[in-house]
Structures are given as C-alpha cells and as structure tokens.
C-alpha cells in the first residue's frame, strides 16, 4: 500500500490535479480517496461519481484540520487494507502543519501566483514533490525564478509543473506515486512535529484576557486527566479535545464520556 498526501492552500488546484492523477492510476491500482476539510466539501462525492472509486469525507470542525488528519490516518489505513494507493487531500489552511508522512509521499500543490516560496513553512520545505500549478499564467522567466526559489528552501524537491485544466503534469506526479515506497507493516512517522496546543484558547476560550485563558487551561487540563484521550467518539464528538471544550462551554455534561462514568463507579465501589 502506498500513502500519498496532497497539501496546498485552498484554490491552488489540488482537487483538479488529483482528478487527472486518479484517471491515470485507476486502471492499474485500487485507489481510495480521503478528503479532509474544515466545514464542508463535496470533492469526495465528485471524485466518487466521476471515477467510481471509494472515497470518504472528513470534516475537522472545531479541531485543527491537520491534527485531525493525523488522528484519522490510522483508521483510514486500517479500513483500507485491500487498497493499493490511498490518496489524502488536506484542508490546506495552515502552512505550518501539513501532516506529511516519512514513509509515504508528500505532495505540495503550490500556486505559482501566490508569491515568494520562502514564506512557506513545512508544507513546502518538507514535501517530496512540489507540483507547481497555474504556470500558464505567468512568464517563462518568472517560472524559472520560482523554481530556483523552491529549490533554495527545499533542495530535494522534485518539481513538476501541473495544470489542473489540461491535466499537464499529472502523468509525472503519477509516476512519483508509483515509485514511492510501501507503508505496510511500517510505523508511520510525521515528517515534522505540529505546533503545540498549549493554552486556554485550545480549550475553546474566547475572551482575550490572561487570567481567563489560564483558568480555562487549568480546567481543561484537569478534565483531560479524567478522560482516556482515545478519541473513540462514543461521546458524540470527534475527539476528546472537542468534548472538553463542549464541557467547559457547559454545552454537555462530562458524564457523557462513558469512561469518566466508569471511573466514578469503580471509586464508589471501593
């Protein structure tokens, strides 16, 4: 099984180029497509209908979409043991954390009109393949300058010029996917650590105030000790953190977590 992550800012042309790549690969490989986004997306449906491959939609909601992606990856891998290639498209909102995996292939779709590449973080610097899109809109010279600038921040990058309208470059990207290594029986590792979630704002605090945010942080930490951090979803939330936020916002009771209840029961028995 191969695992490919496409990351890139919204509107860079990720989905368009993925379509051509799916077209290119689906004859010879069993594919699975997972689309991550924040609030809503229909890309998964479009790809499912057009190319008749299984897809899934994952919405991060209140969570950082890339943390959420990393949390969901093991499930996706487990549920798709029979597939040859899993293609995952990230929400692409944050340049800091794009959860590329060392054992898989990380592809950054980079809009050439989006400015100086040196501003980008791991989304570009840690990518194995950089697919430069919209090159048909700017001069040859600027394309060459852009290319040189990419190599400055990511010297190992394999640069491919892609065009989401014509499908140019899709064959090259598909080639890199074919050449990428298998992930079976390997421990998957993120290429870089994500930013820490360390403050009260991570537990849903909204008021900008030192004291308030610290209190919220402490309250969140206390709750966190009581729950198992399994992200099992039994409470109705996608993750424990989301559940903690809801509890602190007094939207739900903490007893909604079945594991907290269990703990309380065992203590009473003693």
């Amino acid at each position: 099984m191969k695992f490919v992550i496409f990351a890139g800012t919204p509107g860079s042309g990720k989905t368009s180029i993925i379509k051509y790549i799916v077209q290119e690969l689906k004859e010879n490989f069993k594919l699975f497509f997972a689309k991550f986004d924040c609030l809503q997306t229909s890309d998964d449906e479009r790809i499912k209908q057009e190319y008749k491959i299984p897809t899934v939609k994952k919405l991060a909601g209140e969570l950082c979409p890339d943390h959420y992606t990393a949390l969901e990856i093991p499930k996706i891998v487990k549920e798709n043991q029979d597939k040859d290639v899993i293609i995952l498209e990230t929400a692409g909102l944050c340049l800091r954390c794009s959860p590329y995996i060392k054992e898989g292939l990380g592809i950054n779709v980079l809009d050439i009109t989006s400015g100086d590449p040196s501003r980008y973080g791991p989304i570009l610097t840690q990518a194995d393949v950089v697919a430069v899109s919209k090159g048909d809109l700017i001069s040859q010279a600027e394309r060459e300058i852009f290319r040189a600038k990419i190599l400055k921040v990511n010297p190992k990058a394999k640069i491919v010029e892609v065009n989401g309208l014509t499908g140019e470059g899709a064959i090259d990207v598909a080639e890199f996917i074919k050449l990428s290594s298998h992930i079976e029986n390997k421990k998957l590792r993120l290429k870089h650590s994500m930013p820490s979630a360390v403050c009260g704002y991570c537990y849903g605090n909204k008021i900008i105030d030192e004291k308030e945010v610290h209190q919220r942080y402490l309250a969140g930490k206390e709750l966190k000790k009581l729950i198992p951090n399994l992200n099992c979803g039994k409470c109705g939330f996608k993750s424990c953190n989301e559940f903690i936020r809801a509890v602190l916002d007094k939207k739900v009771k903490k007893e909604q977590c079945p594991f907290i209840k269990q703990k309380v029961v065992t203590i009473k028995k003693l």
């Binding site: 048909d136 700017i138 040859q140 010279a141 600027e142 060459e144 040189a148 014509t166 064959i171």
Partner: protein, 267 residues
C-alpha cells in the same frame, strides 16, 4: 545539459484508436520553426508532453524520440534541473513588482549564470525590435503594455533561458512583430514550436505537423508559395502595427497606402 541538442527525431507511435501513425520519422533541427496544427483535443498537448519527456514508447502515444540520432540517456530525460521546453503563451503575464533591469538580473541569477557584459542591454534592445513602444530598463514590469510584455518575454527566453526548445502557444495580435520575434529565437539557435492557426505564423514555419485523433496524420513542408503568402500576410500585419503606433501617438491617419515589395528568398 552537457550535450547540445542539434536534432530531434520523432518516431511514430499510435493514435487514440491504437492505429500506427502514418509517417516514418520527423526530423526537427536546431534553428527550425515547426507549426503544430489541429483541433482542440486533437492531441497537441500530448505531442508537446512527449517532446518534453523525450518519450521512449513509455507514454500514451508510444512515440519514441532520438536526440542527435541517439537514444537520449536517463540523465537528459529526468534531470529536474533541465527543462527542455520553455514556453510563451497568450495568457502569460508578468506578476513581479520590479524594474525590467532587476527582473532580468534575477532571472540570470536563478539560472546560475553570470551576466555577460552587455547581455541585459542586448535583451532589451532585441525586445525593442519586436515591439513598437520602446522599453527602458527602469520601467516597472507591471506597467508594460501587452505588446511590451510579450516582446520582453520573447527576448528574455531567447537570450537567458537555456531551454533549447521554445514553445509558442497561440501568440496572436499582441501588438508585436511576430516574424521578428521568431527570427530572434531562431538566431539564438532555438528549435521553435508554434501551436497556432494564425496564417502568417503557420505558413512561415519550415514544417507543419497536422494532428488528428491523438496521432500525427500529416507533415507538410512549407512550400515556396506558402512562404510567399506568409510574407505578404506579415507585411499587412506590420503595416497595421505601424498605423496602430500612429494612432497611439495621436496622429491623424489620412490614407492607407498598400504596396507590395518583391519577396526576399531565404538563403
């Protein structure tokens, strides 16, 4: 790219229906201009892709390419530093907020080239031969007109880009002397591929490759008669450009003088 590309040979592949293409081989030499014609979706992009990749029966078309009569080595085909084709298209614009001089310097730096004395001046001089409105080094890239931008792109590609093949995609009516643009590219020893249906450009090429249903169906060597027709069409276009320039300068256009010069044969 160590070895200079003097000649590229295309060996036939198959069309959309799996039928073998109807030609023995096509040879494209340094300094030649080739027009590629065909309907949208006929397979022009695939041909360009095959050339860029120097395909070895490993693309959809199953075409095979030779460089200087030899099978190109892997290094030549897959080196990411190497871009075989540089392109110019109608839709292209400049995006950088920078002066013409600094822009050209930046482009040179990105190629890792040291600027030869006077090279930048030359680039601008040649650009000015293509456009009617003079470009100066201090101008901001974003303030250039359509014609000036196109002219600078051509001259820049001819002089600074190392890519041996230049692809021109539908460059039409942008207020530039098209035949001069092609001439400059050819003089710099480039192979020029033009995807176009513009009569003066297509008929001025050395060859026309006609594509249908994903395959090359015909290769026409441009006849002397066609070159003559292209010459006249070009003349009319340049005359048009002259009047355009006069209008820009605010002059009154009193009459149009159409006269024809005898055709100059290429040596």
């Amino acid at each position: 790219m160590d070895e200079e590309i003097k000649k590229i040979t295309i060996l036939p592949g198959i069309n959309k229906f799996g039928k073998k293409e109807n030609f023995e081989k096509i040879e494209i030499k340094k300094g030649q201009v080739i027009a590629i014609v065909g309907n949208t979706g006929a397979g022009k992009t695939q041909l360009l892709y095959d050339i860029e990749r120097l395909a070895q029966k490993d693309t959809r078309s199953r075409r095979k390419f030779l460089v200087n009569d030899k099978i190109p080595d892997k290094e030549m085909r897959f080196n990411p530093e190497r871009k075989l084709i540089a392109s110019l298209a109608q839709s292209m614009n400049f995006l950088m907020d920078i002066s013409v001089r600094d822009f050209l310097k930046l482009h040179l730096e990105s190629r890792g080239k040291k600027a030869r004395q006077g090279l930048l001046k030359e680039v601008i001089k040649e650009a000015n031969e293509i456009t009617g409105e003079a470009i100066s080094p201090e101008m901001n890239l974003l303030n250039l007109s359509g014609g000036q931008s196109r002219a600078l792109m051509v001259s820049d590609v001819a002089n600074i880009s190392v890519s041996p093949i230049i692809l021109i995609d539908e460059i039409e009516n942008a207020g530039i002397r098209k035949e001069k643009a092609i001439e400059i590219l050819v003089e710099e020893g480039k192979i020029v591929l033009i995807v176009t249906h513009d009569p003066s450009l297509a008929l001025n090429a050395d060859k026309r490759i006609i594509i249908k249903n994903g395959g090359i169906v015909k290769i026409l060597d441009t006849t002397l008669k066609e070159k003559g027709i292209a010459y006249y069409l070009n003349w009319i276009e340049n005359y048009n450009l002259e009047i355009r320039e006069k209008i820009r300068q605010g002059r009154e256009i009193k009459n149009v003088e159409i006269y024809c010069e005898p055709i100059k044969l290429k040596k």
